[in-house]
């Protein structure tokens, strides 16, 4: 369960304060597929960032799986994120000078798994997203679509309970977008909680979407 209560988020840019979110409250049940829609700058990405504990609200509370992630100390919030959340970033946020394999295993490194577990996990996700043949290639040499698949594989390697996807189809063509949607549908069937922030109409008419939340100027409309 994800619960945001009266969230305010203010960024400071120099001497100017920018209100990113204003009194946002949101409730997502376990296993639900929620689409956050809205124009660029409406605050969708900030909501995902707060749920993942990548940033903290200026006020209000974020509860994820019953834990106030926004109030957890850094090490606990990192551990919680590692075990429960898979984040698919709009700009992939891969390390360009690492290979596909090395990027995907990043979330596993702090857990220090055995070689056997590591190899099994990474091979499984690489095959699932058809990137096993490029395992040793540097990510910077891949196409946008391939990089997106690496980012998804990295987000899923820990088998998280929650998937947060920020504009996941922004850099994909129609075919790859449909492939991604099929993957998300499969994850939803496996009872994964999914929140997608997007302004791609492809997501608006999906029959497996449980809720659509529209945002505008940092508020839910």
């Amino acid at each position: 369960m994800i619960k945001l209560s009266h969230i305010h988020k203010i960024f400071t840019q120099g001497n100017t304060e920018v209100v990113a979110l204003s009194d946002i409250s949101l409730h997502v049940k376990d296993g639900e597929f929620t689409v956050l829609k809205g124009a660029s700058g409406s605050g969708k990405s900030t909501v995902l960032s707060l749920i993942a504990g990548l940033s903290r609200p200026s006020s209000g509370e974020v509860l994820v799986e019953g834990k106030a992630i926004s109030k957890l100390p850094d090490n606990f919030s990192a551990l919680f994120r590692r075990e429960n959340i898979g984040f698919i970033f709009q700009k992939y946020n891969l390390i360009p000078t690492l290979s596909v394999r090395d990027n995907i295993i990043l979330p596993l490194i702090p857990q220090n798994p055995s070689e056997e577990v590591l190899t099994h996990s990474v091979n499984h996700v690489m095959e699932k997203f058809s990137i096993a043949h490029k395992a040793d290639m540097l990510v910077k040499n891949l196409s946008g679509g391939e990089q997106q698949r690496v980012a998804i594989a990295r987000a899923l390697i820990n088998k998280p309970k929650i998937i947060l996807a920020d504009e996941p189809t922004a850099n994909l063509d129609a075919k790859l977008s449909n492939e991604l949607i099929a993957i998300l549908k499969q994850l939803k069937e496996e009872n994964t909680t999914i929140i997608v922030a997007t302004h791609d109409p492809l997501f608006f008419d999906l029959d497996f979407v449980d809720a659509q939340v529209e945002m505008k100027n940092g508020k839910i409309v």
Binding site: D74, A78, P107, I109, N112
Partner: protein
């Protein structure tokens, strides 16, 4: 059983070093150079000090020189007999010696006259004298030379003999009867031992005179008192004690150390520029990487640990590389160029072998002043970046 050491993290750290190869190679080279230079200087000075200490140790307690109108002059052999009357004097040995300038090579040889029936003023010399028949040496007009002397003579035509020019301007042909390699090579390297009569002839000295007299005492604690008695007995003589010579050597090395202190400061300055560069912040790429790692679930501890591995590997490798290079340079190559600066007072000196000396305390100090500082300089900005929200760092 699961290992506590996270080898995946270590592997990631090594990978990170290789990914920023050019920058890290530059740091590694500068760091190694600094350690190499400083430890080389340390090894050389320690080595020479060790050698000189053994030289000083073997020196006579008191050396007496006669001065006439401020100029060193020969001293009568009869004074050696008179010195024995002073309480506490064990022996007084007159020496015939001097420097012989070999113009062609531009070097000075230390020419020492020996006599089969006289005690030598130090053990090492006594051993050499005992091993040769001085009578035969005199009969054949021969001499025994140090390894350095032999080398210089060979380089300048004289393979079996040498033509000295005597005080009267005549040639004195002396054959090389043997070469000695003293344990105390620093002082023996430029030495020529020949019979006293030959030495008298070369230096043009009266056979009733000596260059100086060395005095051995029964109790070293009595040296100041014996010196004051000698001064009363022979006011024209100057007594040089072992301590005076030690201070003199020390002064030479203090001067050399000063030179290297300035070199050290330049190196340290370069090192601290690197440190300053590191502490002043991470590149946007490095910051973003930290943000990504946080976003995928790395804690601050994981990031700091990884950065620690990175910096430790670089700095420790650089330290070991610099140290090994210095050991090789000093003890295998015998420190070319650097040794000339330390031993510049005689062209013959560079030929002696630097004895192995390993000052663990100084090396520990060097380690503590370099490796931990570099690690701290790497960890501080990484720690700063990892305290920020991942979202903020990735922007």
């Amino acid at each position: 059983m699961k290992s506590k050491m996270n080898f995946l993290l270590l592997e990631y750290a090594i990978n990170a070093i290789l990914r920023r190869g050019k920058k890290n190679i530059f740091i590694l080279l500068i760091f190694s150079m600094l350690v190499f230079l400083l430890s080389s200087v340390l090894f050389i000075s320690d080595s020479i000090k060790l050698e000189l200490n053994s030289v000083v140790k073997s020196l006579p307690e008191i050396t007496l020189q006669r001065f006439v109108a401020g100029k060193q002059s020969d001293v009568s052999l009869s004074r050696a007999e008179e010195l024995l009357s002073i309480e506490g004097v064990k022996s007084a040995i007159p020496r015939i010696w001097g420097y012989y300038y070999f113009k062609v090579a531009g070097v000075n040889f230390s020419v020492v006259g020996i006599d089969a029936f006289e005690d030598q003023y130090k053990e090492s010399l006594q051993k050499i004298v005992d091993s040769v028949d001085v009578g035969v040496l005199e009969k054949n007009s021969g001499m025994i030379v140090g390894e350095g002397v032999k080398k210089v003579l060979e380089e300048n035509y004289y393979k079996d003999f040498f033509n000295f020019v005597t005080a009267e301007g005549k040639w004195k042909k002396v054959t090389i009867a043997g070469v000695f390699s003293s344990d105390i090579s620093l002082e023996a390297n430029d030495m020529i031992l020949l019979p006293k009569n030959t030495a008298y002839e070369i230096f043009g000295m009266d056979k009733k005179m000596a260059t100086d007299i060395v005095v051995k005492v029964s109790n070293p604690k009595e040296i100041p008192m014996i010196v004051s008695k000698i001064n009363l007995l022979f006011p024209d003589m100057r007594a040089i004690t072992k301590d005076d010579i030690r201070v003199s050597y020390q002064n030479i090395f203090d001067y050399k150390s000063g030179f290297f202190l300035s070199l050290f400061l330049i190196c340290a300055f370069t090192f601290f520029i690197i440190i300053y560069d590191k502490t002043s912040g991470l590149s946007s790429q490095e910051k973003k990487e930290i943000g990504i790692l946080k976003a995928v679930g790395w804690s601050m501890d994981d990031i700091i640990k990884e950065k620690f591995y990175e910096s430790f590997i670089i700095s420790f490798c650089a330290f070991i590389m610099g140290l090994c290079a210095a050991l090789f340079f000093v003890y295998f190559l015998q420190a070319p160029l650097l040794r000339d600066i330390f031993m510049g007072y005689s062209k013959l000196k560079p030929d002696f072998i630097l004895p192995f000396s390993f000052n663990v305390e100084m090396l520990c100090l060097l380690f503590l002043l370099s490796v931990p500082i570099y690690i701290a300089a790497t960890l501080i900005p990484s720690w700063k970046a990892s305290t920020l929200d991942a979202d903020e760092v990735m922007r």
